[in-house]
Every structure is written in structure tokens, then in C-alpha cells.
């Protein structure tokens, strides 16, 4: 069994969101970077669990990014995984990134490709589906449970107002969210081991970009909260009915 987990670098969930260069670039000054939580907590940890169950499993990580992504991929390796591949390219176009991952997956002949459900910065939810299409593999999005028996996966995915269980034969691509696994904290042995694990850097494959970011904007500031005294909650209901016209 060969598993590839896609790892993305994102700003910390509490990072201040601001833009520079005439609102065309994210302001990275003072920003703490983390592994995209969905990639780390769910995709990577589920892959680790599968490897723990079947130690013959080969587990590789892939990221598409410039050299400053390396601390993040080392952090991911501290949780586990045999080696990492960094495609040396910097892009915000989902198709371009997916094309790079698909190329790595094709060369490595992986049985399973895991992604997080989305990144917390660009919120595209697109990479998994695109990679699956480029590889002509089945794709289950937004998985909340993933079980494997031989080469058949039983995957539970979220649907509107419920869940659906699907059976799929490998190879396949899965995007993972809460429920698939429980977040872990790397231990000292893992952190030490990660320093010497192979981190291969490869040049990007030729691929097009289909979109580009023109500019960013921040949402207008809220007017401020209108507080209603605690001894007069009826006033809140009146405001919601007559002013906000929402109930």
C-alpha cells in the first residue's frame, strides 16, 4: 500500500489578515505559519493510523511551495511519514497546484491520495477533485470516516443534513474532514526523526494557470453591537422582528 498525503502551509488560525502591494498580496509580516489543520489533523493522522495497522505501508507527503515551506513539511514529518516531496513552485492557482500533485502521484503509483477538505486561507476545496480527475480516479469529498479492507475502502461522507456510505475500489482520492481521525501532537522522538527523513525537492511539471488573483478586500467593519438590557429580552425580539425583519 502506498499513500500520498497533500500538505499545505497556511497562516495560523489567529493570524491578522491584511494585504499589501495595493491589496494584491497577503501581508505576511509577523504571521505564524502552520500545517493546514485539515491536512494535519485528519488527512495525515488517518494515513498514519493506516500505516500503524499495516507497517508495510509506504507513506509520503507532498507539498507545492517555495523553500520557506520546508519548516512546515518537517513539522508534518515529525508526526510521521517516510519521506516528503516538495515541488518547488509558488502558485495560488488550484489547477496548477493539482497538476503538480497529480504528476507526483502518477510517478509514485500511489493507491491512496489524501487531502484536507480545504485550506483555511483560500478555501477552494478544489485540489482533491482536480487531482482525482487528472488521475482518472474516483473521488470522495468531505469524508468523515475512512475504513480500508484489502483494496476496498468504505468511506462515509457528509451530505446535506446527513451522511452517506460509499464503497470504492482503490486507487482513489479522498478529502478528509473532522471525524476521519483525531488530532495528534508530535513527540520528541518524532521531531528528532523528522530532521533526517528524506525531503526531496523536484522542479514543477509544465502546467497552465487558469485563474489569477486580481485583488483582495476586507469585509466592511460591523456597525457595532446593539445591546439590549438583560431585564428586557422582549426588546430583542421586537428589534429582530421590526428592525432586522428576520423573524
Amino acid at each position: 500500500m502506498k499513500i500520498l498525503v497533500c500538505i499545505s502551509k497556511t497562516p495560523d488560525t489567529t493570524a491578522k489578515i491584511a494585504f499589501t502591494d495595493n491589496n494584491t498580496k497577503f501581508a505576511t509580516d509577523g504571521v505564524q505559519w502552520i500545517i493546514n489543520p485539515y491536512d494535519e489533523w485528519y488527512a495525515l493522522v488517518r494515513a498514519l493510523e493506516l500505516k500503524e495497522k499495516d507497517p508495510a505501508t509506504v507513506l509520503h507527503l507532498v507539498t507545492v511551495g517555495s523553500a520557506d515551506t520546508e519548516p512546515i513539511i518537517r513539522k508534518a514529518l515529525a508526526l510521521g511519514g517516510d519521506e516528503a516531496i516538495r515541488v518547488n513552485a509558488d502558485s495560488h492557482d488550484s489547477y496548477y497546484i493539482a497538476a503538480q500533485i497529480a504528476e507526483i502521484a502518477r510517478q509514485g503509483q500511489y493507491d491512496l491520495v489524501f487531502t484536507g477538505k480545504e485550506t483555511i486561507d483560500y478555501n477552494g476545496s478544489s485540489i482533491g477533485g482536480m487531482v482525482a480527475e487528472l488521475l482518472d480516479m474516483p473521488f470522495i469529498s468531505l469524508a468523515v470516516k475512512f475504513e480500508l479492507a484489502g483494496t476496498t475502502a468504505t468511506v462515509t461522507r457528509e451530505i446535506e443534513g446527513g451522511e452517506e456510505v460509499a464503497e470504492v475500489n482503490l486507487p482513489m482520492v479522498v478529502s478528509c474532514q473532522k471525524g476521519v481521525a483525531e488530532a495528534r501532537i508530535p513527540n520528541m522522538r518524532g521531531i528528532m526523526a523528522a530532521r533526517t527523513k528524506p525531503l526531496k525537492v523536484v522542479d514543477p511539471a509544465a502546467a497552465e494557470t487558469l485563474t489569477e488573483i486580481v485583488s483582495f478586500t476586507l469585509p466592511p467593519a460591523k456597525a457595532g453591537v446593539k445591546l439590549v438590557p438583560a431585564d428586557n429580552p422582549e426588546e430583542l425580539v421586537r428589534l429582530l422582528h421590526e428592525e432586522a425583519k428576520i423573524i
Binding site: G128, M130, A132, A166, V225, A230, V237, L240
Partner: protein, 320 residues
């Protein structure tokens, strides 16, 4: 040249989020001076011609039972064929759970640029530029699509439906659907409840409610106004409420018209999942709770004293 809107279904019924996509696509077609046409896959129980009231002229229906369940791979292949047959130049999806599965596949298949999570109509004054949510609701990006065929996936609850008088003509489209590679073995849907992602009104509870036995305060208000119920991460982690009710950065991101939070402090990770709500109401006994900064209306007070009175006032208002 046309705008093709994928109207997705579950168990034969078109989803509400698809009505928004149809209405959005109809307006976009009007801006482009072209026709708006819907695309429906699988066996349908609804009257498809009535979808004309969302402004589409025509519904193309691939009436093939092998498409009754979502297999993203099969769906993308069929939709790609339809795009080619009908020479569509823009494809609109709802960025709902099926849209997230299918739109990226279609984008890669057709090499057509995708904007996933659109929140407004495209700006056509200089190319095709679509505003989308980024940084988990904390900012927007304007994305230019550079390819001839463009794909837009519209975030649920971000575009207001406009109704018109009209019926859509039905065209049975024949496209070889192949067979799904994904076998659905079980579907567990909470029957009767409003799906959280589609709900216009949401009542949500946090740790301040002290335990699952107190959820009557959330449920009573929700039942009175037809709202869905939600909860914070702490509540889902403590198993007071099912995980599918968890909203926030790591749960579901929602954008209802009303988000009513009871006993939730409003950590930044929670706000990331709800900050696109149109009206936010916060009831919390801590005046320093960060949620008040993001709220439109609030009461600083004990939920156990405040909420019964709120519920009573709503009951009177609704005459129930």
C-alpha cells in the same frame, strides 16, 4: 454560447441551494446577453418546468437512473459532455457539498478556470472577475478566470433568489452516463430537520448552556421560527450534540440570515465559521466575550434567565 446551471438533486428533489445557483445563472446570462439553461441528472420527482420561476429558459435533463446517486467522476464526465454539446461558456454550480465534489473535477477535465466559493455576480467590465470568500470569511479575493469556459461555484446563502413568471422548456438530453465507480451502500439523513448548510435561521448553543439537558432552550426557539440548530466545537467534542451540528473553522462554515448564539464566547475559530451570517445575535453572561464585537444584537446576561423570556416573546409574536 449559454450559461449552464447544474441543479443538483437528492432523492429526486432539487436542492434549495440549486435554486440560488439557477437565479444567479439567470442574472448572469442576462448580463451576458445569452440564455440561461439548467442541467439536471438522474430520476426526478419534482416538476422541472417550474424551475422557470428562477429565470431559466430551458432545463436539460439526463434522465438516467445510474445518475441518481452522486459519483463525482461520473457526474463530471456527463456534465463535460453536456457543456460541449450545448456549447456553454459558463457553468454555474452551488458550492454545496456536491458542488465541492464535482466542480473541481469538471474544471480539470475541461481545463476551465473555477472560482469556488463565489459570493457575488462576476464583474464583466474587464474580463470575468468573481468575488469569493478567502481566509475563512475574514476577507474576499477578486479572481479573474482566464479560460474560454468559466466555472463558478456559488456559496450557499450568498445570493438572493429573484422569482419571475415563467416555465422552463424541458429537453431530454441523451448522454452516455457509464456506470458509477462509487457504490452507495447507506444513506443516513436526519429526516425533517433543516440541513444546517441550507438553513436561513440558525440557533446555536455553547458551553455556557452547561449540559445537553439544557438544549431545550435552543430547540424551543428553533422550532418556533423554523430554524436549524448548531453548536460550538466544545459542545460537539463533549458529545453533548452530534458532530454534524458543529459550526466553526473545523466544523461547517455557514452563512445564514440569522445566527443566534447562546453561551458561546466567540473564539476566532468559531467566528471563522459564522462570520458571513447576515445578522448575529449573542447572549452571553460575560460582557468581555469576543463574540459581542462581531455581533449585531446582544444581551449580556444569564442564558437561563434571558432565553425563557425570549422564547415566550417569540411565541407571542408567532401567535403560538
Amino acid at each position: 454560447m449559454s450559461v449552464l446551471i447544474f441543479a443538483d438533486q437528492f432523492e429526486g428533489h432539487i436542492k434549495k441551494s440549486s435554486y440560488e445557483a439557477l437565479s444567479y445563472g439567470a442574472k448572469l446570462a442576462e448580463m451576458m446577453g445569452t440564455s440561461a439553461e439548467g442541467l439536471v441528472l438522474g430520476t426526478i420527482k419534482d416538476d422541472l418546468s417550474s424551475l422557470g420561476k428562477y429565470g431559466v429558459n430551458k432545463i436539460h435533463h439526463v434522465n438516467d437512473a445510474s445518475l441518481d446517486h452522486l459519483d463525482a467522476q461520473q457526474y463530471a464526465a456527463v456534465i463535460a459532455d453536456a457543456v460541449k454539446q450545448l456549447q456553454a461558456t459558463v457553468v454555474v454550480f452551488s458550492n454545496n457539498l456536491s458542488g465541492k465534489a464535482v466542480a473541481p473535477r469538471l474544471s480539470a477535465r475541461l481545463k476551465a478556470g473555477l472560482v469556488a466559493g463565489a459570493v457575488a455576480l462576476p464583474d464583466l467590465s474587464n474580463g470575468f472577475v468573481v468575488k469569493k470568500n478567502v481566509f475563512s470569511g475574514k476577507a474576499f479575493a477578486q479572481i479573474a478566470v482566464k479560460t474560454d469556459i468559466k466555472i463558478v461555484a456559488l456559496n450557499p446563502n450568498s445570493y438572493s433568489i429573484t422569482m419571475v413568471d415563467g416555465t422552463a422548456a424541458i429537453n431530454n438530453l441523451t448522454i452516455s452516463a457509464g456506470s458509477p465507480r462509487v457504490k452507495i451502500t447507506a444513506t443516513n439523513k436526519v429526516s425533517g430537520a433543516v440541513p444546517l448548510g441550507e438553513a436561513e435561521l440558525v440557533i446555536s448553543g455553547g458551553r455556557g448552556l452547561k449540559g445537553p439537558e439544557n438544549w431545550g432552550l435552543v430547540e424551543d426557539l428553533a422550532n418556533l421560527i423554523g430554524a436549524a440548530t448548531a453548536c460550538s466545537r466544545a459542545v460537539a467534542d463533549a458529545h453533548w450534540r452530534p458532530h454534524h451540528e458543529h459550526v466553526g473553522q473545523t466544523g461547517l462554515a455557514i452563512a445564514p440570515n440569522l445566527y443566534f448564539a447562546i453561551g458561546i464566547s466567540g473564539a476566532i475559530q468559531h467566528l471563522a465559521g459564522v462570520n458571513r451570517s447576515k445578522v448575529i445575535v449573542v447572549v452571553n453572561k460575560d460582557p468581555e466575550a469576543p463574540f459581542f464585537k462581531a455581533a449585531d444584537y446582544g444581551i449580556v446576561g444569564d442564558a437561563f434567565e434571558v432565553m425563557p423570556k425570549v422564547i415566550e416573546a417569540v411565541r407571542k409574536l408567532k401567535g403560538k
